[in-house]
Amino acid sequence: MGNLIIRRVAQMLLIMLTVSLLLFAIFDSDQFREKTAVAELGGFGMATLSDSDYHQWLEKKGLTAPFLSRYVRWLGAILHGDLGQSTEKDIEVSVLLRESLTNTAILAFFVFLIMIPVSLTLGVLAGMNAGSPLDRVISILSVFTTSIPQIATAVLLTVILALGLGWVPAKSAMTDGWSFRALVLPLLTLLLYDIGYLVRMTRAAMTEVMASQYIRTAVLKGLPYWRVILRHALRNALIVPVTLIFLELNGVLSQVVVVEVFFQYAGFGRMLFDAANFGDIQVLQAATLVAVCVAVGSQLLSDAAYVVLNPRVRFT
């Protein structure tokens, strides 16, 4: 098993290297270089700049050196923690990243805190009594919630909860300091979709396990039903949902872009979106790298969890 993990880690490092090379190559194109120039010198300055002056400016910024040396220098800077300067907000990228990642991490923490018990319980209950009314209700609800896009749920929840009933503030910008109430709407929007998805997957795994031979043998042997479920069925049924939960980290990072932009929550998604709109290259580069890091890490954790939980994979 250790061999497998080491091989996966090496693969992940190779992927990270390739992704960083790709990102650097993308943001190194002439188009983005001009965007950086405009951001620093201003539109008027760029328009009146002669070719030789532009070339001099490029040399001063070190942008005329060969591709590989620039790439290595950039990589070195990142590994030392120097991620550049944001041209829009005029603060260091690492500071910006730290703040926004903290905010998103808080949101994600609460999402996972509520999502894991609720969806696993509902999925197991639905799978245990496959075909019963409870199962039908849970299945229908989960298919419905995964069919409504998060933008629609976000606006609907805002209208109903914030503006109709007035229980929670409509936007989560938190300009008056931290408040838990402002987290409710983004939380609910994320939760509705994620819980539905996870319940469907858990139910599918649970029904498959409940139909298998060893469960039937255990029941026929005379074991109490609860023991059959807790000791035999759950351990096999929950392998796939647990690995999916790790992969949800990747999914949350993607869903959080929409939710944060809509609710004006100062998190990672909104920072990425604003940087993309403004053309803030350093922030975009750093944010994408961090996102890829988290995604790759979540895939690694998920594979590791699968190997740990599934003995059949461990010993082949």
Binding site: Q11, I26, P149, Q150, A152, V159, S254, L272, F273, T288
Partner: protein
């Protein structure tokens, strides 16, 4: 999935795509190009009803999807108001229930919500189906190559897929659309970048599984070209799970396109589009009186995605049963 169904689907998709993507170039032909699609949708629906009779889930799903397909192909021929022209001089914006004029009311700029909803499904369907098809061609091609040929090809294709899989989906979309500009064709590229690796993994698994079967080995003994084996022997026999996944993926792609338009990154106004309608109504729906502006597009997009999900679930149920 036989050739008759494939031909009918092409007969629906080709005119619709031509209409949405190339309407300025079509000129006078534009008003006739959708006519062959209308009976094709109806025939498709009848065929689906007959072959999927035993699963009410699949029937409900295909009803929803075919309803929106029908709306998309008949929208130019229905007696609807112009979705882009505000009737502001005649009617105050945001007014509801003006009898025969505005069945569902008008939005904040005075345009008819009903006609915008019915016209909006054209763009979502066309770009969604086209993007998913391209992603499938790329992903299935890569999966077949990696799964069947194995060895060095497999390593290369899997590595390329893993590189693209390591981006979160929305981050990839934002990156690609900012790099290449915002248009429907770039959405196709973005969707391919994000979906093709997953499809490639699925097809590769199926191909690896089917590689050891007898008919493959018989074809190899006969001396058939690997490309022929992949396309003619391998692909038709793994199509079951692929079709189920295709329906699910159409749902995800529809969500992605609607979300991108909502964020302002996708297709451009003022043409009617559900994501755009949701965005515009987000500020107007502050009052209960105007919340219908939000409910119409939200309900429409949810029913379309629900249709795709139900078809996928129904097909899976039917394949498990036999």
């Amino acid at each position: 999935m036989n050739y008759r169904v494939a031909m009918l689907l092409a007969l629906v998709w080709l005119p619709l795509s031509a209409y949405v993507m190339f309407r300025p170039a079509l000129g006078a032909l534009g008003s006739y190009v959708l006519l062959p699609a209308i009976p094709s949708v109806i025939v498709l629906y009848v065929l689906a009803l007959r072959s999927w009779r035993e699963s009410w889930v699949a029937i409900l799903g295909v009803t929803l999807v075919c309803f929106w397909l029908l709306m998309a192909v008949t929208a130019p021929y229905l007696p609807l108001l112009d979705p882009n022209k505000p009737l502001v001089p005649l009617v105050t914006p945001g007014g509801m229930g003006h009898g025969a004029l505005f069945l569902l009311g008008s939005d904040m700029r005075g345009r008819d919500v009903l006609s915008r909803t019915l016209w909006g499904c054209q763009r979502v369907l066309v770009w969604g189906i086209t993007a998913t098809s391209v992603a499938y061609v790329v992903g299935a091609g890569g999966g077949l190559i990696g799964g069947y040929l194995g060895g060095w090809w497999d390593e290369l294709v899997s590595f390329a897929g893993n590189v693209f899989l390591s981006f979160p989906v929305m981050v990839l979309f934002i990156l690609v659309l900012n790099l290449l500009g915002q248009s429907g064709f770039n959405i196709i590229i973005a969707v391919t970048c994000s979906s093709a690796p997953v499809i490639m993994r699925i097809v590769r698994g199926l191909a690896l599984d089917a590689k050891s079967r007898d008919y493959i080995q018989a074809a190899q003994t006969r001396g058939e070209h690997p490309l022929w084996i992949m396309l003619v022997e391998l692909l038709p026999n793994v199509r079951g799970p692929i079709i189920v996944d295709a329906c699910l993926r159409l749902g995800y792609t529809t969500v992605a396109i609607t979300t991108l338009t909502f964020l302002g990154l996708g297709l451009q106004p003022p043409d009617p589009d559900w994501g755009l309608m949701i965005k515009e109504s987000a500020t107007a729906a502050l009052l209960w009186k105007y919340s219908y502006m939000l409910i119409a597009p939200a309900l429409s997009v949810s029913s379309l995605i629900l249709g795709f999900n139900l078809i996928a679930d129904g097909l899976r149920e039917m394949s498990l049963r036999d």
